[in-house]
């Protein structure tokens, strides 16, 4: 029971970190970046290559993955999404799916479809609490999630740039009139989201050490679900949605059925959206004239 709960929170923490990328980009650019899951996969490969082929110590491998993904996020935004700033949301959505396939197939070309075995990067021993054994990976994942959550909350509520980000997400035109460079702000959001994706990639691959070009796809969709579940656009919503989703998934696997666990996850999403269409913490859109 306790083991399952910890595992659920740990898996959910990975979803939450990924969901933050979806939710921040959605909040600012009002677009669903479906390539986000594949950025995770690239992050995984970046860490894998540096650690396995070049024998870098884990901390540097993670740092390298963050740099690669941050740069990738900025490049994707600049090349694929920025030219479509004025386009319909459908065009942007299709482009995002295109970018997703592009990344997956590039990975297929570079690393082939053979699964790679991800090296063990987290060397913290597991601890035993009562009857439950908590792995080092789970501890690190949950702590990483908490640290990221606190850091992002401080960033968006206390810093000038963070406040500007919230201003842009609410009204781009008015933000421009304040002297805020909207394009730079969007670029920064993609950078942060993608950097977090790299961390999520390493944590995910540490818990489930098989790395393939499609590794990011399913967690990406689940994290997107978590973001919607918590209320898309809301940072604490992504966090709560992610953790709840992880717990539901692990408990579904443990007590109901392994095959049905994904079905249960999505069924919960559907029920939540029927009861509260904006998600758990989503704010209804309100216009005051």
């Amino acid at each position: 029971m306790l083991t399952n709960l910890i595992n659920g929170i740990s898996l959910g923490s990975v979803y939450a970190i990924i969901a933050l990328g979806y939710t921040m980009v959605y909040g600012i650019a009002k677009m669903l970046n479906f390539a986000h899951g594949d950025v995770i996969m690239i992050g995984g490969y970046a860490a894998f290559c540096t650690a396995t082929y070049w024998n870098w110590p884990p901390a540097f491998a993670v740092l390298f993955a963050i740099v690669v993904c941050t740069a990738l996020g900025i490049i994707i935004e600049k090349l694929a999404y920025k030219p479509l700033r004025e386009a319909t949301s459908l065009a942007v959505l299709i482009t995002a799916i295109g970018v997703s396939y592009f990344l997956q197939n590039s990975a297929l070309l570079i690393w082939s479809s053979n699964p790679k075995s991800f090296p063990n990067m987290i060397s913290i021993p597991s601890i035993t609490v009562g009857s439950a054994q908590i792995s080092g990976t789970a501890i690190v994942t949950i702590l990483a999630n908490i640290v990221i959550m606190i850091a992002l909350t401080i960033f968006t509520s206390k810093t000038k740039v963070g406040k500007a980000m919230r201003a842009v997400s609410e009204d781009k035109g008015a933000a421009q009139l304040m002297g805020i460079n909207v394009n730079q702000t969007i670029s920064l959001t993609f950078a942060i989201g993608s950097g977090l994706a790299a961390i999520a990639g390493v944590l995910l691959c540490s818990a489930y050490p098989t790395l393939m070009p499609t590794t990011g796809a399913m967690p990406g969709i689940k994290a997107f679900t978590a973001a919607v579940f918590g209320g898309i656009g809301s940072i604490p919503g992504a966090m709560i949605g992610g953790v709840l989703l992880g717990i539901i998934e692990i408990f579904g696997k443990a007590y109901i059925s392994t095959q049905l666990s994904d079905a249960i996850v999505f069924a919960v999403l559907i029920i939540v959206l029927i009861v509260k269409p904006t998600g758990l913490l989503g704010k209804p859109v309100r216009e005051k004239v």
Binding site: K160, K163, A164, R166, A167, E170, D171, G173, A174, A175, Q176, L177, M178, G179, I180, N181, V182, K283, R286, K288, V289
Partner: protein
């Protein structure tokens, strides 16, 4: 010398020719108003001057320097601020955060003093500084929007329909504040549907009709102009 000089500007929305060769100027220290009916192109003109829209042709000079094609976030640094139509405050941010955003381009060390200054002028905002701006009343939101625009210390403040949707007593108050800001040295370019009020405080005015300037004069001249009276002042 004129502070802002707009000459023969044409603006299109797609294939719609919204502004047709508009010219006007604003001198240092003046209150200038653009009046006209809905759809005359008043807001479009302000949005073009502030860089949100790009004109197809024409020149816009601020303090002798061309600002055509300069994006909005850089125009603010030149010393022009727009308080947009419908206020457009950041409703999820607090009152104080809204004011901080207004000073985004200025060094952090100067912001606290400016905020204190705005609170002096608008005591209501001080009472509500921690409140989320979306919870303010319409009049308070307008004060916040004007305060926010002043936070960049503009030489020229453009106001788009500041009296829209406000009760008459608040309208008077807003106009008093505009006059007061002008006396303190801010040049004002005011767009209003409330022509009576706007002309009564303005040094000069321009009448816009379907994207063209059709008449110009001092505030008093336009108030007494028969055609203007008929069209905009209810006879």
């Amino acid at each position: 010398m004129s502070m802002l000089k707009v000459e023969d500007v044409n603006v299109y929305y797609g294939s719609i020719h919204a502004i047709k060769g508009v010219s006007f100027e604003v001198n240092q220290g003046e209150i200038v108003t653009l009046i006209g009916a809905n759809g005359a192109g008043k807001s479009t003109t302000l949005n073009t001057v502030s860089g949100l829209l790009k004109p197809k042709s024409g020149t816009i000079e601020f303090e002798g320097k061309s600002v055509v094609g300069v994006p909005a976030h850089k125009i603010l640094r030149e010393g022009m601020a727009l308080c947009p139509e419908g206020r457009r405050i950041f409703s999820q941010l607090t009152v104080e955060e809204n004011l901080q955003m207004g000073a985004y381009t200025r060094p952090n060390s100067e912001i606290a003093d400016s905020i204190a200054d705005i609170y002096d002028r608008f005591p209501r905002l001080k009472e509500r500084y921690k409140q989320v701006a979306g919870t303010l009343s319409g009049g308070e939101q307008q004060m916040l929007a004007m305060g926010r625009a002043l936070m960049s210390k503009p030489k020229l403040l453009m106001l788009d329909e500041p009296s829209m949707g406000l009760a008459p007593i608040l309208v008077e108050q807003i106009f008093e504040i505009i006059v007061e800001m002008n006396k303190r040295g801010t040049t004002i370019l005011l767009v209003e549907q409330n022509a009576q009020m706007a002309l009564s405080i303005a040094h000069r005015g321009y009448v816009l009709e379907t994207g063209r300037v059709v008449s110009t004069g001092t505030g008093a001249e336009l108030l007494n102009d028969d055609a203007v009276r008929k069209a905009y002042l209810g006879g």
